[in-house]
């Protein structure tokens, strides 16, 4: 592979050599806008010759011409200007703000001018993407695009965030958008695309924008377009280096220390003896102290009996250790380094873009990191006037140390820190409390299983130690992603062209997990290695015939497209145990314990078409149609038809408003369409076969698979979209207001079955969900002068979710309940009724029933958890989400910041619940400050139950742990300084910019102790927090 890359790079070197015509004369100048702001990257082309250059960072250009040549100056968002070369050697140009509507926007299977759009598309340009520290590019959508909900769960670098466009319109199928990179559906890991490769990210939100993706368009589409060189542009080299330090963005809940733990555990034991067993307070206190160390198994003090019958630490008792598990597990100074190199340019008949990016980032947990090398080469070649070839090639490899960072597995550090008290040591201790050392004098991790004496046997999480496992185990994921995407574009006439595009993607996942033999999953097995490899290949072929012609006031354009898609997954796994010494490869396994593997395939074949018509560039109408056949459904169900229709009216072009000095743009648009969703439910969800691979000893075995619906078919979503785009005051104030309504028609839904039927659910088309809401975007150029530029933008989204049809009255789903008229995000749980002052027990509400068993509407309280009723208790879906950004440019300084926010959602904090266990089990701590005002004696009025060392449900799932989860987060802040040109005059570098950048520096949240970004469902899961990063970077342009 390395050889191939070299060849590709070499051929570029050759292409770069340009011929210089000695007879020409050199002219130069500056290109600015009306406010005097220099325009970097403006393109200057000699008409008819095809040669051209671009302006540098200060808007300066130099070009070789002969007298009489016509230069065409152009810049995105500006009106083109043509100037004939005369005698002057200097031509300065001021470009007029053009009609922004003439900008070209990448859309499904093509591009259109902004003006002609009838649908709802939000674009994110390279500048926004580069202004943030992104490991996974889709994070850039958070707070910058309305109608898009992005949640980054946890602090493992490289993890991709959850992205939902305009709500969640599926319960059991995949609700995430389709990602399309350079026109081709992307099946690799999104973190393979480095941000420096991206020219734009366009979010297609409504039916008319996504209809051409048919069966995959219902949840929205994100079009990622990578950078390309421009024909006739100078060689430009960009180099960037950024170094930063990261620490957890928010402080997580703190578990109490050893002394507090011991005293509180004593209190819990005393309460049990006193209130349950009926002993006197004195006797109970003494009994609680006696045997407390036996119970705990460990004694962190230097005296045998560290606590007395009154719950006081005895005089002279000193702590030998007081483990801060969280501190031992979390990385508070994670290093981040990123380097990138971009080369682009082009001549008359070719252009190129080459990028190389290296990222090395450590994560929130010690020993977690992410390293990535990504390369991309995009080439365009104009062989003839009518024939263009292009090839995009990207190769990315990444490697991450990926220790468990969520969930309840014993090795999850956060879960561990909340579950294991500080009285248990990290390293082994002998009965006197001294360290136990190995033969060479190193400390040994204490896996809590070292005989029966004190400090030997931990009564909880025996055989585990999250710290030991973090360092002694390995969890390494490697991804290799190779994409080659080639196209050929033929222009038959000025109105008819044909493009064929063939793309092949090969994604290799290589997972390696080693569990050490001393403790944890590999203990007693002599160590364990699990390796999983999965080769995923995607072949996509697309033929696109395009027509576009204007007849007077009438313009018609159309596409006819045929596409086939072939996806294949080929996973293989192996497990082996029992290794000699520190051997940790499968060859060294004494016992191979498992092999697995299968091949799965999915195919899609599609016919697509789009027809657009406009009258006087003022009234637009567009229709799209796609017919998809998929292998995921039985042959009589597999074809689905999807369509959309949309129109727009540029009101500001009407005579009445045409010359209005204030109003530059008013455009009303509307669309309706029906789209499908076919992902997230297996490759053959309609087949009930007999599953192989359940052999018993040496005998082959099969089992009946889950019950299926052979008539299962496409999930269809109907989307209505209405939007108003506006631009006022010479387009200094621009914005969009949008309304949408998405309703699923044949929801794919795992309908719960009674467990007694032998199946717990059946996947079928039933039920319906509606998502509707508003979006608002406003961008303002507050000040625009040659000295100072100040821009600001805000966007707001509001999404409602409603179940409109369900097969049964209600379905319990975790701590939610689905019911018609309710949202799938409505919490449904027991309602906390406080603490009984008499005995300190927790209480919950229940419905008082009448004689017929119907609720009377009155509620009583009960101390029996099982008897408590469950009630709706708010929603995890925020009322409003959005972002605010502003940027300031003053002289050589620039400043950017982006805030994201979310209000009105709730979160169920199970971490907090765990830390409120009140010592009902052995060895688990309470959180610091939780229970300061607990119930201690009859008559106490409080909300925290007594500590009790006995089974209870005081911290069972109830509204006691449901919190408002509002937050504002400063996602990014950057201060940059560009060296003055004068300093750089004598060296070959054109631009040098230094910048100081902060990511997630500031978080305000209504409920502290967790990262506010948890999950759409509003449920915590012992997750590591996101990182805040301060970094210093330098940008060089040659």
């Amino acid at each position: 592979m390395r050889g191939k890359i070299t060849i590709v790079l070499l051929s570029f070197g050759l292409l770069l050599t340009q011929l210089v015509n000695a007879q020409e004369r050199t002219i130069s100048g500056v290109v600015k806008d009306v406010d005097g702001v220099p325009l970097p990257g403006a393109s200057i082309v000699v008409q008819g010759k095809g040669t051209g250059v671009q302006t540098d960072f200060d808007g300066i250009y130099t070009i070789d011409v002969v007298v009489g040549d016509v230069l065409e100056f152009s810049y995105v968002g500006m009106q083109k200007q043509s100037i004939t070369v005369g005698s002057s050697n200097r031509i300065d140009v001021v470009l007029q703000h053009g009609n922004e509507l003439d900008e070209v926007v990448v859309v499904a299977y093509g591009s259109q001018t902004k003006k002609s759009l009838v649908g709802s598309i939000s674009s994110l340009g390279a500048e926004t993407i580069e202004g943030q520290q992104l490991t996974s590019v889709t994070q850039a959508l958070q707070g910058t695009v309305s109608g898009v909900n992005v949640i980054t769960s946890g602090g493992q670098p490289g993890a991709n965030p959850t992205v939902r466009i305009r709500g969640v319109s599926s319960i059991n199928a995949n609700a995430g958008p389709l990602y399309v990179v350079d026109g081709v559906p992307f099946n690799g890991n999104l973190n393979a695309i480095s941000p420096d490769q991206i020219e734009s990210m366009n979010v297609l939100k409504d039916a008319s924008s996504t209809a051409l993706y048919g069966s995959r368009g219902a949840n929205g589409v994100i079009l990622i377009t990578t950078k390309r060189g421009k024909f006739n542009s100078n060689l430009q080299v960009t180099a960037t280096a950024v170094t930063g330090f990261s620490s957890p963005a928010v402080e997580l809940h703190e578990a109490e220390g050893a002394e507090d733990y011991l005293r509180h555990f004593w209190e819990a034991r005393r309460n049990t003896f006193q209130y349950i067993d009926g002993q006197s307070a004195e006797q109970a206190g003494q009994n609680a102290a006696n045997g407390i160390i036996d119970e705990l198994g460990y004694n962190p003090y230097n005296v045998v009996q560290p606590i007395d019958g009154n719950g006081n630490i005895v005089a002279g008792a000193q702590l030998l250790w007081d483990t801060d598990w969280k501190d031992a597990l979390m990385n508070r100074s994670a290093l981040r380094n990123e380097y990138s190199l971009g080369i682009q340019g082009g001549g008359d008949s070719y252009s190129y873009f080459v990028s190389l990016n290296y990222l090395d980032q450590e994560g929130a947990m010690r020993n977690s990191d992410f390293q990535r090398v990504s390369t991309r080469v995009n080439i365009d070649s104009k062989l003839k006037d009518w024939l263009t070839f292009g090839l995009n090639t990207a190769i990315t490899t990444s490697r991450s140390n990926n220790p468990t960072q969520s969930g309840n597995a014993m090795g999850n550090p956060i879960g561990w820190a909340y579950n294991v008290a500080s009285i248990y040591p990290i390293y082994r201790r002998d009965p006197t409390g001294a360290y136990v050392l190995d033969a060479v004098g190193n400390r040994l991790y204490d896996y809590g299983d070292n005989g029966t004496e004190v400090n030997g046997s931990r009564p909880l999480n025996g055989n585990y130690n999250a710290v030991g496992m973090l360092f002694d185990d390995k969890n390494i994921d490697k991804n290799t992603n190779i994409i080659t995407n080639g196209f050929m574009d033929i222009r038959f006439t000025d109105f008819l062209s044909f493009k064929t595009n063939i793309s092949y993607e090969n994604f290799l996942f290589d997972g390696y997990a080693y569990s050490n033999p001393f403790g944890g999953f590999g203990e007693g097995l002599g160590g364990r290695v699990i390796q999983n490899r999965n080769i995923t290949t995607t072949l996509n072929i697309n033929n696109n015939l395009r027509f576009s012609k204007t007849f007077g006031d009438h313009t018609v354009n159309a596409n006819v497209i045929f596409e086939t898609y072939k996806y294949k997954t080929d996973p293989m796994g192996a497990t082996g145990t029992d290794f000699l010494g520190d051997i940790s490869v499968l060859n060294g396994a004494a016992t191979p314990t498992n092999v697995s593997g299968y091949i799965g395939e999915e195919r899609l074949t599609s016919y697509l078409g789009r027809v657009g018509y406009n009258y006087k560039n003022k009234y637009f109408i567009e229709g799209s149609f796609r017919r998809d056949g998929s292998t995921k459904f039985a042959s009589d169900q597999r074809w689905g038809n999807f369509f959309s229709i949309g129109g727009s009216w540029v009101i500001s072009d009407e005579n009445l408003l045409k010359d209005n000095p204030t109003i530059d743009l008013l455009k009303l648009r509307a669309s309706y369409g029906e789209l499908g969703n076919n992902s997230g439910f297996g490759l053959f969800p309609y087949l009930q076969g007999y599953t192989t691979g359940v052999s018993n000893l040496e005998n082959k075995g099969v089992l009946l698979g889950s019950v299926t619906d052979p008539r299962l078919t496409w999930e269809t979503t109907a989307i209505t979209d209405i939007g108003l785009d506006f631009g006022f005051l010479n387009n200094r104030l621009q914005g969009t207001i949008g309304y949408f309504n998405k309703e699923s028609i044949d929801l794919i839904y795992a309908k719960p079955l009674p467990g007694s039927t032998g199946n717990l659910s059946i996947t079928t088309n039933i039920g319906s969900i509606r998502n509707y809401g508003w979006e608002f975007e406003l961008n303002a150029d507050i000040i625009r002068s040659d000295k100072l530029i100040w821009l600001a933008g805000i966007n707001l989204s509001q999404v409602n979710n409603e179940i409109t049809e369900l097969t049964q009255e209600s379905v319990i789903r975790g701590n939610k309940r689905l019911e018609e008229g309710r949202s799938i995000f409505d919490f449904y749980m027991r309602e906390w009724a406080g603490v009984d002052p008499e005995d300190g027990y927790g209480m919950w509400f229940y419905d008082i029933l009448d004689a017929e068993g119907k609720p009377t509407g009155e509620r009583g309280t009960t101390k029996t958890f099982a008897d408590a009723g469950r009630y709706y208790a708010g929603s995890s879906l925020p009322d409003i989400t959005g972002g605010f950004k502003t940027s300031l440019q003053l002289g050589n300084f620039d400043f950017h910041t982006l805030f994201i926010f979310s209000f009105g959602g709730k979160v169920y904090d199970s971490n907090y619940a765990q830390l409120s266990a009140g010592y009902k089990g052995i060895g688990s701590p309470n959180g610091v400050g939780i229970g300061t005002d607990r119930w201690q004696k009859p008559g106490d009025i409080t909300d925290v139950p007594l500590y009790l060392f006995a089974s209870n449900q005081f911290n069972g799932q109830s509204t006691r742990f449901l919190f408002d989860n509002d937050y504002i987060r400063m996602r990014a802040i950057t201060l940059g300084y560009t060296l003055p040109k004068t300093i750089l005059n004598d060296i070959f570098i054109n631009d040098v910019r230094f910048y100081l950048r902060g990511d997630n520096l500031f978080t305000w949240q209504s409920h502290k102790g967790i990262d506010p970004e948890q999950s759409l469902e509003g449920v915590t899961d012992n997750r590591s927090p996101q990182l805040k990063t301060i970094s210093l970077g330098v940008n060089l342009k040659f």
Binding site: D277, D294, F521, L697, P754, S756
Partner: protein
């Protein structure tokens, strides 16, 4: 323009060509890890593969560690008694303190869903075998008998857990009865109806099976008889219980005991005492659910397990004579009042060969003894002989007691506890069927007195069932 025309023709041709083959293109991918009904029921091999799958699933991992498979039924019952103590914080705590029987809990949900999951598989086996054109009538009877033995076993677990003791109230609601695949939830049946099906299935199995089987983890005539012996014990059909127990151990007392292996850690299914169990190998192994995972205190740690949370009640261990081969108790903490004072080495946690006994022949001998005893004074001597045979086998110094009547009954029941503790939840099984209570003695962390026929002996129907079943509503739990 000519170029264009040519190209258009070319494109059209290509598009048409691709279109015409698109159905083939879409028909081509097929699942690679599934086989069809025709393969399974098209041959004896296929049917046996299905039976192997069902046996494997019975020892698989259905849900969590304490909700894995059929051993989870028994281990949960072990902790409900007095002889052993559970000192852990999770897993079986809800069984030990009896809080886990309510509708919202994992225990009833697991027993319910797992049993019915297995029953659904078995129903499909039985119906598939009976409809198979490839099997002869005798093969059909034979293989559906294999299915029915297992179906009887799983329905019996449901009847035990979700109904009152059969002798108390045969009309008490029991779970629904299914013999065919359906997605419609059925209403509750009665305890009587469920026992009728169990007896009919197991009787059919005993009649149509032989002693052939693929291995000791599979069912045969003796296994079916063993299950039926337990069922008859519950139904107080003493004659039937004695007959079936005797059939289960082939009326071969000498061949039913291997005292020299009793102290070997209960690891190996090849032990001749074991009638039916499950057989694990290092590559087909579910980590931690058998009794050894909880009660093996003294072995070094073994990966996920042992959890070392199951200790012995010293009042119980004191009942064993010093020369009893079953006296495998070791003092761990010298303080007799310490909850971790006494441990047992009956079960060793060894991943290389940790098998699990579901039925052992000595249990069958004790069932026969009890069932004889209960048939009246005329059978007492015979019962006492069987009991003494076992006692003498376990302790060379054993002396035959002079007990008769109620004392002999107690002696038999005590012997069941001594022989079977930590295996099948014998205390709970006997306390429920004989309408006795359970009284915790000594230093149990959770002291409890469960009265005879206490509702704590009965599981509530899980929430998840009545949430999805139109024919069962929450009031089903009003009396439980």
């Amino acid at each position: 323009m000519k170029k264009l025309l040519n190209f258009s023709i070319y494109t059209f041709t290509v598009l048409m060509a691709l279109t015409s083959c698109s159905e083939d293109f879409l028909d081509d991918p097929q699942p690679t890890q599934q086989v069809s009904e025709n393969v399974v029921f098209g041959s004896v091999d296929g049917v046996e593969a299905f039976i192997s799958g069902i046996i494997r699933e019975g020892r698989g991992r259905f849900d969590g560690q304490s909700t894995s498979n059929l051993s989870s039924y028994y281990v949960a019952r072990i902790w409900k008694g007095d002889d052993m103590m559970f000192l852990g914080t999770g897993f079986w705590k809800i069984d030990y303190d009896y809080t886990g029987r309510t509708a919202d809990n994992m225990r009833p949900r697991f027993i319910w869903n797992f049993s019915y999951h297995m029953i659904n598989q078995i129903n499909n086996l039985i119906n598939g075998v009976e409809a198979s054109p490839a099997l002869s009538d005798s093969e059909k009877a034979y293989y559906s008998a294999k299915g029915k033995a297992l179906r009887g076993f799983y329905y019996f677990q449901l009847a035990l857990e979700f109904s009152k003791a059969y002798s108390v109230d045969p009309s008490f609601p029991a779970g629904p009865i299914y013999t065919e695949l359906t997605t419609e939830g059925k209403p509750m049946s009665s305890c009587q109806e469920m026992y009728d099906l169990i007896v009919s299935d197991l009787t059919f199995a005993v009649e149509n099976l032989t002693s052939d089987r693929l291995g000791k983890s599979y069912v045969n005539k003796q296994v079916a008889a063993g299950i039926l012996a337990r069922v008859y014990l519950t139904m107080e059909n003493w004659e039937g219980a004695a007959e079936m127990a005797n059939l289960a151990y082939d009326n071969d007392l000498a061949g039913s005991f291997a005292p020299e292996l009793y102290g070997d850690g209960f690891l190996d299914i090849n032990n001749p005492e074991w009638l039916w169990g499950y057989d694990q190998t290092p590559d087909q192994w579910v980590s931690a659910h058998t009794p050894a995972a909880w009660t093996d205190i003294l072995s070094p740690g073994m990966g996920l397990a042992p959890y070392k949370v199951g200790y012995m009640n010293v009042n119980f261990t004191n009942l064993f004579s010093a020369t009893d081969i079953r006296n495998l108790f070791q003092i761990q903490n010298a303080n007799v009042n310490n909850v971790r004072h006494m441990t047992t080495t009956k079960f060793w946690f060894d991943k290389e060969n940790l098998d699990y006994p579901i039925i052992r022949k000595p249990e069958m001998v004790l069932i026969e003894a009890e069932a004889k005893f209960r048939q009246g004074p005329a059978f007492e001597a015979e019962a006492h002989d069987l009991l003494y045979y076992l006692q003498k086998n376990r302790d060379p110094n054993a002396v035959k007691s002079s007990n008769t009547g109620g004392d002999l009954e107690e002696e038999i029941l005590l012997e069941r506890r001594k022989e079977l503790y930590g295996e099948i939840g014998v205390e709970w099984f006997d306390a429920k069927r004989l309408q006795r209570g359970i009284v915790r003695t000594s230093n149990h962390q959770i002291q409890m007195t469960i009265a005879p026929n206490d509702i704590l002996f009965v599981m509530q129907v899980p929430e998840s069932e009545y949430d999805a079943n139109d024919n069962i509503d929450p009031s089903v739990n009003n009396d439980r």
